[in-house]
Symmetry: C2
Subunit: 969 residues, 2 copies
């Protein structure tokens, strides 16, 4: 086996790079040489002539002289030639000089060669993230490759793959100013960005444009991109190689193009503006954005313009743009029209007005579709549209500044969601360009890597590779340097915090989202957070002081803990408000915790900004807590409520998971209810709280012997009339014992106050005793006839995770698959192939569930589904629902009318809550029932099915009822 000693005994193999006419390869080879130095400490020579050394690295493209003249005979060039961005890596021995070993990196084209070099870099241990995430490069004493390094890469799955630096104030911008001298990024900074893009095997970039003009600021930026092989684009409202700010900048300083950004009132000036942009950038590799929108992401025409008016002005502008491109930038420049926001209407038109899709002028251009800014793709092309030669693109978001609530801070894009949406896009033919808004780059390392890898190698990570996002995440952390158990746990933690953010983004989270008591939601979420943060602490101790520390802090510790503090703070705030409303002094404990969270979150930000010699100063400085508007203006920390306790002990009791509460005095108390069921929920809990300054003394008595009460602080079972005492609150578990049951439907638990406050008419000689009564209402389900596993009704509800079906029946056309970890709770169920519709029941795959209802009646059935958009313009997201073999009801999980991505309230609620809930009524019979769900529309991912007993009030909570007890035979 040939071995190639890239570095051994202090010597680095030199690099041969001929004059090959590929502009920029020299620069990139220089970067590659630096990578070798990073690993070995030695910079290899870069030579134009082949040296005599035993080990030589060769970098070239198919057309390079050495390749065609010397190497062609030894390698199968047909695998490279005419391909896009492919590279071959070969170890060749004795092919030119005897005994000489050549590591040949041959690109089908320039980017192919670059990707080839960077693939060697990665193999040596240089992460694409060595700079941006401080993935420290491990110094190697030798670098020797065997033949396993040799390979020919595939062509990328998606032609243009890249990201968009956006919304870059205050983090990226202030960081850039401090580190690179200006918030308008200079070539030194762009070099790092281009490098990252190329190392990730992307090729396409939308530059920062909030407060900077890429080419106008520094023509060298554009030149450098061209040199490094980065194809520049521009965002949806920046046509003709002109950034969005440019017109404003010029208007202010030198209004040579007039002052109106209008193709109606200032067509001439605008035309000149575009023309000069094209002339300026014509020699660089560009994917030219065409079309026109208003300034600053706004509408082009006044509100009262008709659809036709808008389409016409857009056509006029595009016609002019194409004319200018043909005349002034005649080399082969592909073009792209972004179908963003209102442009979607102009693209599709309506019954009376033909849209741009029917305008053949655009047939050869990339139609860049968009998500709804919240990672849900909008309308996807039907079969007819997919035939257009220009193909389709997708503009996706990991960061967004806009309505309903911006998110500029942390990674809040679960990979399962990205996978689900982007594979669907791909399956719908969106394969020409993928670009993702990554805000400041920082914090988006994981999803950005994933997005580009998915675009680069769809076979590996795409539709067929279901449930590989965990594997991807683990690989991501492994490649950053986290091996073995540390890698596994780091990956788990990253998935975990992203899951929290995938439920609700920190900016949009307030104290009233997670319910402080229903479904014990606050408690469950908190426990999960406590567990993760503890794990992150343990792990941090392991990596502290090692090369991994900085990267761990940035990629795991900071996001896990910062997001945890914000979640905790808001949940504590919900609990604080609830307890304050109930005048329990326990509220004050939560008030303290809120402040602790705020302080800890701040100190984490400080740490991020100061550690590592302040390398990432400013990068977490954007507001990210409690937005009260769509943007961060006047975002609010919670208001803490402080209960001023009364002087004497005051008993206040509630049943845990209910908001109801009572006190003990005769005129104002009421009986609390605790419904329990032997089969489905035989455990209850109540809280004895104090509203006073002094410790409360009480004793607890109850009827019947079939109730068992346990003091949760001691774990001990109570005897009747056992005394208790609390400064703040004590919790008690109630268990019902079927073998001791006396068949009475109710029994009373009584909590007597022993040293409580005395009110005016409750004093000596008064027969009224201060006491709280909890009525245990017991029910039983007769399961004797049940012959199958089933979910049991408890507390008036049956809740089932979608994946927990009794059967999953595929049709001839399709089948349901589980996307593990997807969505807000357990997972999601989606029908595959994902680009077809099932109008006929018989064509549809079917999930069925067994449930045991406590009563005959019209149950309310709620289907929780992902907050996707219909793939059809103004379409639906229906699913068929049926009980016990009846005809299926089509339940639309969005409103039949008026669901309007980017506009309607239903859409806004959906993208913030990350869920749609469809609802129907189902007639159930007491006992066993079968509920079946069958696919109708594509893009529906079912997460949960909930059935409410008609006699039960639907309880508000964020995630819906926890899964019911599964009765297993």
């Amino acid at each position: 086996m040939a071995k190639f000693e890239l570095f051994k005994n202090g010597k680095a193999a030199p690099i041969l790079l001929e004059d090959n006419g590929v502009f920029g390869l020299e620069k990139m080879t220089g970067i590659f040489a630096k990578d070798i130095k990073r690993v070995t400490g030695v910079t290899p020579k870069v030579l134009k002539e082949l040296p005599k050394d035993e080990f030589v690295i060769y970098v070239g493209v198919c057309e390079s002289k050495t390749v065609s003249e010397k190497l062609a005979g030894y390698i199968d060039l047909s695998k490279l030639k005419g391909k896009m961005e492919v590279y071959g890596i070969y170890i060749l021995e004795d092919v030119i000089n005897p005994g000489q070993k050549i590591l040949a990196i041959i690109g089908s084209d320039k980017r192919g060669a670059i990707y080839g070099m960077f693939s060697i870099s990665e193999k040596m241990g240089v992460s694409p993230w060595y700079y941006w995430a401080d993935a420290k490069v491990k110094r190697q004493s030798q670098v020797v490759f065997d033949e396993s390094i040799c390979r020919v890469s595939k062509e990328p799955s998606v032609k243009y793959r890249g990201f968009f630096i956006n919304d870059e104030q205050p983090c990226f911008g202030n960081w850039a100013r401090e580190k690179f001298g200006s918030i308008r990024p200079c070539p030194e900074l762009y070099e790092k960005i281009f490098e990252l893009l190329l190392r990730l095997k992307g090729n396409y970039l939308w530059p920062a444009m909030w407060r900077s003009d890429f080419t106008l600021d520094h023509i060298e930026n554009a030149q450098l991109a061209n040199e490094m092989g980065v194809i520049m684009g521009a965002s949806h409202h920046e046509p003709c190689c002109r950034s969005g700010q440019e017109f404003q900048t010029l208007r202010r300083d030198n209004p040579q193009y007039g002052t109106d950004w209008s193709f109606l009132s200032n067509a001439e000036g605008i035309t000149e503006f575009w023309k000069d942009g094209l002339i300026r950038n014509k020699d660089f590799e560009n994917l030219i954005t065409i079309g026109m929108r208003g300034e600053n992401d706004s509408y082009l025409m006044p509100e009262d313009a008709t659809l036709e008016d808008n389409i016409n002005v857009l056509k006029k502008a595009i016609t002019k743009q194409k004319e200018l491109i043909a005349k002034y930038a005649p080399s082969e420049h592909p073009q792209l029209l972004a179908i963003y926001k209102e442009v979607e209407d102009y693209y599709f038109g309506d019954e009376n007005t033909k849209g741009l899709k029917d305008w053949d002028v655009l047939d050869n251009d990339i139609m860049m579709l968009c998500d709804d800014n919240f990672a849900n793709v909008r309308t996807l092309p039907d079969e007819e549209l997919r035939k257009k030669p220009g193909g389709f693109g997708m503009y996706y978001h990991f960061d967004y500044f806009g309505e309903p609530v911006s998110y500029l801070w942390i990674n809040s894009s679960p990979l399962t969601k990205v996978w689900e949406q982007m594979t669907m896009a791909y399956d719908y033919g969106i394969r020409s360009a993928w670009i993702v808004n990554v805000g400041d780059i920082k914090n988006q390392e994981l999803p950005l890597s994933y997005f580009i890898d998915l675009a680069y190698d769809f076979d590996k990570w795409g539709t067929k590779a279901i449930n590989k996002t965990d594997e991807y995440t683990l690989q991501f952390f492994n490649k950053l340097g986290f091996k073995d158990d540390v890698g596994v746990q780091a990956a788990e933690l990253a998935t975990e915090y992203t899951k929290w953010n995938g439920r609700r983004r920190p900016e949009a989270l307030h104290h009233d989202h997670y319910h402080p008591c229903h479904e014990n939601e606050a408690r469950h979420i908190l426990n999960r957070i406590y567990e993760a943060t503890e794990k992150s602490e343990d792990l941090y101790q392991k990596v502290k002081g090692t090369d991994l520390e900085e990267c761990f802090f940035q990629e795991v510790y900071y996001p896990v803990n910062a997001v945890a503090e914000i979640n905790k703070m808001q949940i504590y705030s919900g609990l604080n408000e609830l307890y304050a409303k109930q005048h329990k002094t326990k509220a004050n404990e939560y008030a303290k915790l809120i402040t602790e969270c705020i302080e800890r979150e701040r100190s984490l930000t400080d740490e991020f900004h100061t550690r590592n010699n302040g390398k990432w100063n400013h990068m977490q400085s954007v507001y990210h807590i409690g937005f009260t508007h769509w943007n961060d203006e006047q975002c609010q920390l919670p208001i803490s409520h402080y209960v001023n306790p009364v002087r004497d002990p005051r008993l206040i009791v509630s049943v845990v998971n209910q908001t109801d509460y009572t006190w003990a005095h005769r005129w104002t108390r009421h009986v609390l209810k605790m419904p329990l069921c032997f089969e489905s929920n035989k455990l209850g809990e109540f809280e004895v709280a104090n509203g006073g300054l002094r410790a409360l003394e009480y004793h607890i008595d109850w009827e019947g012997d079939w109730i068992e009460i346990t003091d949760l602080s001691t774990g001990e079972t109570l005897s009747k009339n056992e005394a208790g005492r609390t400064d703040v609150s004590n919790n008690y578990k109630v268990k019902i014992l079927k073998d001791k049951w006396d068949h009475k439907p109710n029994a009373m638990i009584r909590i007597y106050v022993d040293n409580g406050e005395v009110v005016a008419d409750e004093s000596e000689n008064c027969t009224s005793v201060p006491v709280v009564e909890i009525q245990v209402e017991v029910s039983t389900l007769d399961l004797s006839e049940v012959k199958e596993n089933c979910f049991l009704e408890g507390n008036g509800v049956i809740s089932i995770e979608a994946a927990h079906c009794a059967s999953n029946k595929s049709s001839k056309l399709a089948e349901y698959k589980e996307i593990k970890g997807f969505g807000r709770t357990l997972s999601g169920m989606k029908a595959y192939p994902q680009n077809i519709r099932f109008d006929n029941t018989e064509d549809a795959p079917v999930l069925s569930y067994k449930v045991f209802a406590a009563e005959d009646g019209e149950y309310t059935c709620q289907i929780y589904a992902a907050a996707s958009n219909p793939v059809v313009y103004h379409g639906k997201l229906s699913i068929g629902v049926a009980a016990n073999g009846a005809d299926r009801i089509a339940v639309n999980t969005i409103p039949d009318k008026g669901f309007d991505p980017w506009k309607s309230a239903s859409w806004r609620v959906g993208v913030l809550d990350n869920i749609h809930v469809g609802e129907c009524k189902l007639a159930l019979k007491k006992g066993l029932n079968e509920i079946s769900l069958s696919a109708i529309d594509p893009a529906v991912v079912i997460e949960k099915i909930v059935l409410w007993n008609p006699n039960t009030e639907i309880r508000k909570s964020y995630l819906g009822p926890k899964e019911s007890k599964n009765y297993i035979l």
Copy 2:
């Protein structure tokens, strides 16, 4: 001049008290002798035979042997004989033994003699309150009277005068248990109560009955009352000398009378119960309550009973009672029926059902009418009814346990209100019996004294003695020992805190009553409180260590400061909530103040309970803060809100007296408005507040030179662009200068943030600047034609204190008089005589007001009137309102329908707010207008007139707009 040396050179004159057949006079003379000892240190001898001493005190009644045989010639007995409760005091020389001087105290009857003795006691300096309010008796080295002591008293104005110890838990009851061994008061305690009653010149008592049975507990209680000359009654639902609890007590221990308190199901048992009560108490002086109500102050019959059913069962019961009284208590026992709550309906009946008023069986009994439990008398007898020989009584409240909100704690009865209501009652013929519920006695010392003095000497304090309540209060404090300036200030402070409570009782006060910013209400109330509490501190320092200290603490210092702390706490809480809503960190200062108020109020209670050797332990222990129900169960201290500040400075600005506020960022800010007028309100104020942790820096600029801005913390005038800095908040006064005005209607004040937080899209290169704009909207009133004083519109409102009329025109029948200090603000205007109605405009007295309106338009006119009740059953409280000589509109200050004392929402709101607001529309013309108010219904006391410009939104506040500027020529 004859001088009588009661005590001189260590010798006290002996007292001659013959065997005169007046049972109890011996005991009372003994008490009088003790008074002499209190003053002199020497107990005088009480002898049955005349001694030879030079100075002898004689106590007797007209019929006494010595009087008729020896003294008759020297005194005019006709002034005493046959009179009720009259006494004569004479210094007689040489009438029996030569050289012997006799101080003769001769009563027309037993109570006359007792009052006579106590009048001497008071002259010697023994206050009726020596025990109950620790009015220390000053030791005298000699007691010598000249002839000025001699007088013959008047007959009392009201026949039965007394009080009702009620709602006596937990204060009086627990105190009684600690000091006298039981919450069921024993004779030792009743002796102190009887003494107090008699010293005050009362004669009639309803004993404590919450947890005690006066006669059943101790027959000695009843015997002692009889001995001491106290006429016992019982409350409205305790007929036939049986206390309300008695039936329950007996039912529990020995149900000899059955168990149903029902004259339907248990007529026999109830009859026996009554009979035995009458037999038991027949020999004592009683005013026997007749009639029947349900147990515990409830209805007698089920809800579905008709009016007739109720009347009939009541008649049946009364018939039986009268039969029993005639048979078993045949001596002359007057009888009384209380027309309380629902009994009012039975008394008046309706169109179809004759009420008890038409039942002649009751003609000779006292019909005891009632107030509405909140010190507003209900229906008063018309002329026809007044002819009934039995006469009428009034059951009045200084303390109440019931809906809408109980008040059991502090004196909340302004004397002006008591005067206004009780003189009206008297003028309507209510002269037979006055009784007042005084709760625990403690805290009610002043109004109780006043109530009985008013009943005793109506000529001196009644209708003709308008505006003498201040004089009374001063006299009250003088008699307690507070002389000169200390007396004056003590009286002022007592009036002041009562005024606060008269606006709203502490129990019913919450954080949302006084408005935190409108009309600057919170600030004005707070300033008045600060002033009073400071004064109380100064005064306390003066009396500290003197004999007056204890009494001062109880009568002035404690009530002023405890009430102040509660008012402050609630106002701070309102401010805390407002500031928290606005996310200003100033909220946190108020949170701290709330806690301080709570702690101080608690320490005052502790001090009351522990000082003075704990003599008054328990007396302030009743809950008295923030009732959330009609009673004290779960009364609540305020919830304090804590603003968790953001890290960077955050500017938040508001115009003082508006709730509106804004911050400085572009997407969410708005322009604040500050309407000013050169003539009516040329001063404005704004607040620059911080919502962040670090100090905020800013600068202020404004347009025009006619605006002058002053920093209120320094008092210095700002120059343009002057910098400011604040950790929490700074306030600025804005003044408009007419002489510099450029005739522009608006000018902008701008507050620029200099070091504030930076939001995502407001960073370098952004044109948006963080700034707050306040638009000063200036207007001017053309007063050039005005030839009269008038009130000017300002901020869209004209507000006038009722007393500030331009003219007060009496009619032939009546005139308006000002009751100074009455009501919630300045005073009240009421038409006198107060027992007539003015159906014709020409009969009515008229008040007229001059106002200057800013615009032509339909102004809303609000009439603020006392929360009285109509004197006519289901009547109105109308007043005539007219503008500029138009016909008067009858404005009813209560709803035309459904105003139902004790029941309706309008009544409930009225008695808690202590105001009724009537409303009408008035067409005003721009410029000068005359508004006239003319009397219609009796019982209307006008406090304030408010006119709202039709273009102005009516601003919520508790007391209504402050009085407008009075333009004086």
